[in-house]
């Protein structure tokens, strides 16, 4: 047990500030703003339900990484939930396989209003490498309404974080 405590103490806190870059210098400010919105409109807690509607699982790996100690998305009041009934946002990866079409629609219907849908990854955004076929509906927007697209194959955790921050940019 002492070894474990020693390791935890030596590891320390690694969570990074999202460093502003040339492409998006306002990330930190946006982060603070998002936090304000989350605090005010969502009582400090923005809940995301992730739905894999046909992805190759690459996007899932990077969405997962948002929870590791470096990105620690919960510090913005954002967390992933187990049921669409608890969710404010559906984060959907694609392409939407035809075999997942009904399940995705039902998940969308089970999510309480107001709700937002984020299509994640090139396949979710436009069909990507798989497109539309006998087995694939292509983009998420071909099946349910989409509010925000985060392209990338897969988008890195930082891209996901920036995408999330931009969702309420206009509001």
């Amino acid at each position: 047990m002492l070894r474990l405590y020693g390791k935890l103490l030596r590891t320390g806190v690694l969570t990074e500030r999202v460093t502003p870059t040339a492409e998006d210098e306002a990330v930190e400010r946006e982060g603070a703003r998002l936090k304000t919105i989350v605090d005010k409109r969502f009582r400090g807690s923005l809940a995301i339900r992730q739905v894999d509607a046909g992805s190759c699982n690459g996007c899932e790996l990077e969405i997962h990484a948002l929870n590791n100690v470096y990105y620690n998305v919960e510090r913005f009041g954002v967390h992933f939930v187990a049921s669409p009934r608890h969710a404010d946002i559906l984060m959907v990866t694609g392409p939407v396989s035809r075999h997942m079409e009904a399940a995705l629609k039902r998940t969308y219907e089970a999510t309480a209003d107001p709700k937002w849908v984020i299509a994640v990854g090139d396949c979710g955004v436009c069909g990507g490498e798989f497109g539309v076929s006998y087995a694939s509906c292509g983009a998420v927007s071909n099946v349910i309404p989409v509010d925000l697209a985060i392209p990338g194959c897969p988008p890195a955790p930082l891209d996901l974080l920036r995408g999330l921050l931009s969702l309420f940019r206009g509001s």
């Binding site: 992805s55 690459g58 990484a65 470096y70 992933f80 399940a103 990507g128 087995a135």
Partner: protein, 538 residues
């Protein structure tokens, strides 16, 4: 080595397709050993379709492992293939079937692994498998009718889907009867950030009586949309068969195409592919060891392994331009070189990861809550693993040491010393520790590769192969053996692509090892196998 075991080794290495062919002929089975083999280094035996099941029975009796099967629409007829392996030698059985109303005896009565693979072929080609023990649909839900077959050449890739696609709500699951038996349906949308699939449990109290998997939800027509692609386009698609195995599948597809086109890749390219594959193995093992800790409530382990994985992925990004190393392999070689600076960085990071693992080992080993939840949970016996033909760490935790890198070595592994850790307990703890040991073995391989890295080109000139040229690739991905079959059509375009992810073989193991466990242990059992849904569903 004593005399007896040396003789045994000689006998084993002589056990090739020719031996099997001779045996078939002596049994009065009409067979033809094709020489030279169209799929070297594998042997190919042609059979009459009526003998398909009987040959499967013979192969089983001779100790051949059933490694996969695929069909092909050859215009005038259908071709059916099954891959077998014994002592690192591959053998392909092949037969021809009429395009109208094709049927042949199933190999599933003799090989468990053939069950779902044959049903996949039945759904996509319309081949009927006689005497199949459970011939209900598998990959097909309701996106196409039973009477149409998407992998027939005349079927358009766009299909004729009715919109919206109805849900798959009439699949005939096994039912259990009795006063205290209840059913738990789970999925396709699961509670975490994971892929979709359906699990149907029958339970009594907390004890799992029976689990039936229902997969196919992420079937996105990979085999169909591969047709007509150029070689580079195929590698891009192969890199997305299962995103966590992008290097593994890209390598298998490249190997199949390079063998078909008789392109020899430069030694340096092979070594760099080896580096990428070992990095992929380590990255995934780090993720899953953390996830296994998380599934039993050991958050500190989850965050420590997650931290190591994130550092590893960031180094992938810095050295190879992509966190998951997508699109670094191309037909004929690789796109990214390894500079002396890269070599230095990778040596440092390997040493540093080893130090971290040394530090974590006693913490994990002495943790009684891990011990409590991992030991004797989800046992896959050595016999069952052998009957299923379990691959990769699932097989290696249950006494099966097969590893393509060591047993059917391909460059650069033919010049490396590949250590394969094996355990025999077959529980979650065994699978956890086999993967921990594979981390260390992977680091050792990275160091060997960096030491032996030869100078030379990054890729060979691509040669467009003749129409009908075919190739078979076999590599050891992080989940286990990946097989890949490719046939070229006219103008160097792909006419058939079949990737067999190890998950296709390993998924049934989960159904077996979870029996008798409690329902709350299902997540950790599932994670300890960690099949790919996407790699399975295609």
């Amino acid at each position: 080595m004593n005399e007896v075991s040396r003789n045994a080794t000689v006998a084993e290495s002589a056990d090739t397709g020719r031996t099997f062919y001779t045996m078939l002929v002596s049994e009065g089975i009409k067979a033809r050993l094709i020489a030279p083999s169209p799929l070297p280094p594998a042997d190919v035996i042609e059979l009459e379709s009526g003998d398909w099941g009987r040959c499967g029975q013979q192969a089983g009796a001779q100790g051949w492992r059933w490694a996969g099967a695929w069909a092909e629409d050859r215009g005038s007829h259908l071709a059916m293939n099954a891959g077998l392996e014994k002592h690192g030698r591959y053998l392909i059985l092949r037969t021809a079937l009429p395009a109208d109303n094709p049927a042949l005896p199933s190999q599933a009565p003799h090989y468990w692994a053939a069950d779902r693979v044959e049903r996949h072929i039945q759904d996509l080609f319309g081949i009927r498998f006689i005497d199949h023990p459970d011939p209900k649909r598998w990959t097909r839900h309701r996106a196409w009718e039973e009477t149409v077959h998407p992998l027939r050449k005349h079927f358009p890739a766009d299909g004729t889907p009715s919109s919206p696609t109805p849900p798959d709500n009439d699949y005939p699951f096994l039912k259990a009867q009795g006063a205290s038996v209840y059913e738990i349906p789970v999925g396709p949308v699961h509670a975490g950030i994971i892929e979709p699939g359906h699990f149907r449990f029958q339970a009594v109290g907390e004890t799992v009586l029976h689990l039936e998997e229902r997969l196919g939800y992420v079937h996105k027509g990979i085999e169909k949309i591969a047709e007509g692609r150029d070689p580079r386009g195929l590698v891009r698609l192969a890199g997305r068969v299962s995103g966590d195995t992008t290097v593994g599948h890209a390598w298998a597809a490249c190997m199949a195409m390079e063998r078909a086109a008789k392109v020899e890749i430069p030694s340096r390219a092979a070594y760099i592919r080896g580096l990428l594959a070992e990095r992929e193995r380590i990255g995934n093992h780090l993720l899953d060891l953390g996830a296994l800790c998380n599934d039993v409530g050991f958050a500190a382990g989850y965050y420590q392994f997650g931290r190591l994985r994130e550092l590893w992925l960031r180094e992938n990004q810095a050295l190879f331009g992509h966190r998951l190393m997508m699109d670094v392999l191309i037909p004929g070689g690789v796109t990214v070189d390894v500079s002396p600076e890269t070599v230095r960085r990778m040596r440092d990071s390997a040493a540093s990861l080893r130090r971290e693992l040394d530090e974590l080992l006693p913490i994990l080993d002495a943790n009684s809550s891990l011990e409590d939840r991992f030991l004797t949970t989800g046992v896959l016996s050595v016999d069952l693993a052998s009957a299923l033909g379990a691959l990769g760490y699932v097989g290696r935790a249950s006494g099966r040491s097969f590893d393509v890198r060591r047993d059917a070595p391909y460059p650069p592994y033919d010049r490396l010393n590949v250590r394969v850790p094996v355990e025999t307990q077959g529980d979650v703890a065994s699978r956890f520790w086999v993967r921990y040991k594979e981390l260390r073995a992977g680091l050792r391989l990275i160091e060997q590769i960096l030491t032996g890295l030869p100078p030379g080109d990054l890729s060979a000139q691509w040669q467009t192969p003749a129409e009908n040229a075919e190739g078979l690739g076999a590599v050891e991905g992080w989940r286990g053996e990946i097989l890949c079959y490719v046939r070229f059509g006219a103008h160097g375009r792909i006419s058939r692509y079949y990737p067999r992810d190890p998950s296709i073989i390993n998924w049934p193991a989960l159904e077996k090892l979870v029996m008798g466990n409690i329902v709350p242990d299902f997540p950790v059992c599932n994670k300890s196998v960690n099949g790919s849904y996407s790699g399975h569903d295609l």
